[in-house]
Symmetry: C2
Amino acid sequence: MQYTKPFQKAEYDRRIAQTKQSMADKGFDLIICQDPANMNWLTGFDGWSFYTPQAVLLHLEEDAPIWFGRPQDAKAAHITTDIPPENITTFSETLIHHPTEHPYDDLATLIDQRGWGSQQIGVELDAHYYTARAHAHLVKGLPNATLADTEQLVNWERLVKSEAELVYMREAGETVSAVMNRAIAKVAPGVPEYEIIAEVYHAQVMGVDGRYGNYSSLCPLIQVGEGTSTPHLTWSEHPLPDDTLVMMELGGARHHYQAPLTRTLYLGSPPAEVTKLTETIVEGVDAALEIARPGATCEEVEAVWQKVLNRNGYHKESRVGYSIGVNYPPDWGERTASLRPGDATVLQSGMCFHFQSGVWLEAIGAAVSEPFVVTESGGERLCSAPRELIVIN
Amino acid sequence: MQYTKPFQKAEYDRRIAQTKQSMADKGFDLIICQDPANMNWLTGFDGWSFYTPQAVLLHLEEDAPIWFGRPQDAKAAHITTDIPPENITTFSETLIHHPTEHPYDDLATLIDQRGWGSQQIGVELDAHYYTARAHAHLVKGLPNATLADTEQLVNWERLVKSEAELVYMREAGETVSAVMNRAIAKVAPGVPEYEIIAEVYHAQVMGVDGRYGNYSSLCPLIQVGEGTSTPHLTWSEHPLPDDTLVMMELGGARHHYQAPLTRTLYLGSPPAEVTKLTETIVEGVDAALEIARPGATCEEVEAVWQKVLNRNGYHKESRVGYSIGVNYPPDWGERTASLRPGDATVLQSGMCFHFQSGVWLEAIGAAVSEPFVVTESGGERLCSAPRELIVIN
């Protein structure tokens, strides 16, 4: 089996040491991570098995993490991680979709047998695949433990990217630039939406110069005409009209590091209102990225953007950006720092954000987003796709 | 906005009436469905917004369902469903990723204001996106309600497909046949795995003759050599070797109805062991599908398959099939009936299964799976891809 691990063991050792420090600070003896991005970031574990209960456990007194999952996926843990074999553990296959028992019954037993049954245990209470039922079985199985929400402890540790991670973030940006350019080249009146999306998927996996892509955390999104007023509709069989607004939000992923990108297109002659809005957005992004340096806060970056909007008669209600990095479906946001009022997170070199500059008015909307990395000289764009209203005539 | 609903309103009305009957039987006044497949099946709601808290509510005394979600996704509910506007409700945007509050605080308020705060309420305790934290906020916000697990109530209602649904299941089968054939045509020594997957994604979306495809609930899976011993690894940059076993599990989706398909290929001259195992699998599938008629039970179908295996010196531990239909990432199984010992579910016309006939031995594995629909004359295959060990020389 040929499998090339994306990082050296030292990188994972550093992440684990850093996370343990944070656990100690917050009073956790043990954390249970079910978020697939946290599992991957801590150990390298990779595979489309997150539809089934599984977790990575990290204990302050245990050198290596513990992988816990379905028997058929244990081999994937052996192949994709450096976890010692004795720490790769499985639940009984009969617990899959069992009416009264649950794989987390076995997890509770494992924790108890290790002597950790009365300790301070952190769980990812709001992680996508950590279901209410899994939690109930853990609570019941560990009556003497103190279970508390980690409050995205590992997600926060992921916020500043290492140089090794930034290599993949930049490659993801390179991929999504190629993806967007291929999509733009395909857009024309009469072309069914799905034909554009087929090209997008092909380009996402092909990557650039052999640097292939993984599946993106979100499917490609395309909105046409009135559909631009809601962001998460997916493609249909309808051909693009002659005179219409089109928005596309596409992703590129390299070793699961995600770069999202949004562009706005106009088929035909754009109304002056669309042109003005797009120009304002580009100006706002430029101004915000200029000050996105170490020491600035998330809300300061947002304020610079909002000021440009306001001066031009616009306003954006929702946050204008969020932290990005390694991720799995269904989301590419890290659920930590956001570029919005009230977020006083201080920027550091190596943080990455998706500056999602969508502005939706009554009848029209536009977005020209930028994934970027914080550097001493401001926000470094990860993408090279054209930064303007793209007019297809 | 051009959006063509995949079903008539009467189809949803029937599903809702049938589900209410089951709710009444089980003593629920209200159910809260967060599973995106259940939300779609009950109302037609569609969009990649399941990474955020959202739900469809069904109350015994209320004619129409209630959609509850993020403000920016409400428009998608207006476009994709027949839910009356007054039943499309949203939570406050400030609750997104809020450290102490949660969108389900607003859901509890809504339920209370409707006068349902002391009733019997069913929640999908083990649905992928129903997090432990969402549940905790609901429990806290509805102190007088009786909250209980629906135990996949709606999933069970989805088990028998209507004629209208079977049209899409067959189209999904047609798509995945085309997808598999295109993948097989691309497989050759020296071809990097990702180049095959890029073709797969393109074919999945293009569908057949304009019947375009949606995103599949699982990403395309390819395993090579030793990697065939674990099922959920994803593609890499490595070129296919000269003499090796390859397994692919691919999906086709039509209006989110899912048809999965697995095939085994050998590059070079297959060892006699691989040929014998594959021939046994095909014989076992044929025998099992022959008896997959109304009246037979799930475990009887499994027993016929297992008997063929045993006669040839093999055994399969895990279940050999599971119910399929409409679904969303991360899984295409319906989490209800399984073809395994102990499952006494009686087959009815219109039930659909993925007969996942993978057998993994010490060093090798093989699978020649079949998605099928139960009919009076046995299991009708949804796919036309070659049913044999595919040898690439």
